[in-house]
């Protein structure tokens, strides 16, 4: 009987150990699969945003180089036509109307092209692009938009990171005006040799951050996807009626980024 008890106990123990080990293996495999899925999703997201940015760049370039230059040629020819149309008042009036329409079209094309990819961002970097964006909002609206750039030992950052941070700022300003009805916005860009910090604050209506976790709008989703893509950390602080603030921390990667743009 003693041997029977011992055999039964050993069997039970072996059974428990065996299933614990096999379960651990299954769990490890499931975690590996989950990690792979996550990586795949991140890669998809990265490619999506990258394709979107490339497409924007292409459209902006086409608009500027193709449509813009042709509109300029039409504009020049209209000048010539206007000189010759002085004899006929009806023709002169029609040419003036076309002039107005052409000028509007040139301005609209330039604006769309700049919105798609600001040349300042492309040529002078993030800080100047944000400054230009703030200036353009201040010129066209009653919004009080302050931008402060503090740079101690900043390092050059990848174009892709700059573009994403710029898009985030665009989205945030749009949200502050559209949803927060803010009248004042403060943006601070701080750069040192370790990280880049971007602080955004408005005096709008604010919201409950817990609600945001449950129901993220497309704009916020887009912001979070872009932050995830550049591997930046962020924190949101907002209360209903107490404005909104977002702090972004982008630690520079260990390898210095390529300076080629």
């Amino acid at each position: 009987m003693t041997i029977g008890i011992l055999i039964m106990l050993s069997l039970a123990l072996a059974f428990i150990v065996f299933f614990n080990r096999s379960q651990r293996k299954i769990l490890a495999e499931q975690m590996r699969m989950q990690q792979l899925r996550l990586e795949h999703q991140e890669a998809l997201l990265y490619n999506n945003i990258k394709t979107q940015e490339e497409e924007r760049k292409r459209i902006a370039k086409d608009l500027h180089d193709e449509v813009g230059s042709k509109l300029n040629i039409i504009h020049l020819n209209l000048h010539r036509l206007k000189k010759n149309a002085a004899a006929s008042p009806l023709l002169e009036e029609t040419v003036s109307d076309i002039f107005g329409a052409i000028n509007d079209t040139i301005n609209t094309t330039r604006r769309i092209s700049h919105d798609l990819l600001p040349p300042t961002l492309e040529n002078f970097g993030l800080a100047d692009a944000i400054k230009e964006l703030c200036d353009s909002y201040q010129r066209t609206s009653a919004l009080d938009l302050q931008f402060d750039h503090v740079q101690s030992e900043g390092r050059p950052i990848e174009k892709m990171v700059e573009v994403n941070l710029f898009r985030i700022i665009q989205e945030l300003i749009s949200n502050s005006i559209k949803h927060g009805h803010a009248s004042q916005i403060n943006i601070r860009l701080l750069a040192n040799n370790k990280e880049l910090r971007l602080e955004y604050q408005d005096n709008g209506q604010g919201f409950d951050p817990n609600q945001l976790k449950k129901n993220t709008g497309l704009g916020m989703q887009n912001i979070e996807s872009r932050l995830q893509m550049i591997q930046a950390q962020h924190s949101i602080d907002s209360q209903p009626g107490a404005g909104f603030s977002l702090s972004i921390k982008y630690p520079y990667p260990n390898d210095p980024p390529s300076l080629s743009r």
């Binding site: 009987m1 039964m8 428990i16 299933f19």
Partner: protein, 217 residues
Amino acid sequence: MKSWQFLITSSSEFILLINIVLSLVHRWKDWPLLKYFSWLLFFSLIVQVIAKIMWLQRMNNLPLLHLYTLGEFVLMSLFYHQMFKQNLIWAKNIRWFIAIVMALILTNSIFFQPITVFNTNTKTLTQVIYIAYAVGFFLNATHHQTESYQNVLKTINSAILLYYTGSLFIFMFGNVLLGLEQRHNLFWVANALLYLIFQLLVFTAIWQFRQTKSTYS
């Protein structure tokens, strides 16, 4: 040998009491998966206290074992029902299964092994069923992988599997052992030791439950 048995039995009863208090503190009765197991612990304590009183009064406490076998089977089956109820075959037939086994336990106590003798037949039958339940849990464990209290359930199942496989032969030959000389009490000491391990594993499960609860809350 008797003093050893007394010491081990008293220790396991003391740990059982602690386990009941802790399961009440952590409100196991509010968790469907652990509710019936906490009732089983409580039922065990009541039966053990009454059995001890009867033993001190030099009364035959074997009728209590018949009652305990029945109650233990119902509570244990309900405990496993919470884990297996997503299985359609189980969910459809569990009532019939419990009713048939209960009928067998009662028939055995009335016609084959009266309440004054050891109910080895039904003890063996129910223990084999508990072993099957525990094995069934482990075989289906991967389906419950996402369950937050999976580690707690695994520990309880290990306790059940170890105790009932270890004591299966002891209860199977219970009547023979009762008639043997004092030196064969070794088997009852082994049973007491297995029960102590069972209670210690339940204590570990409560500890794991406490930690999981604080992680998820």
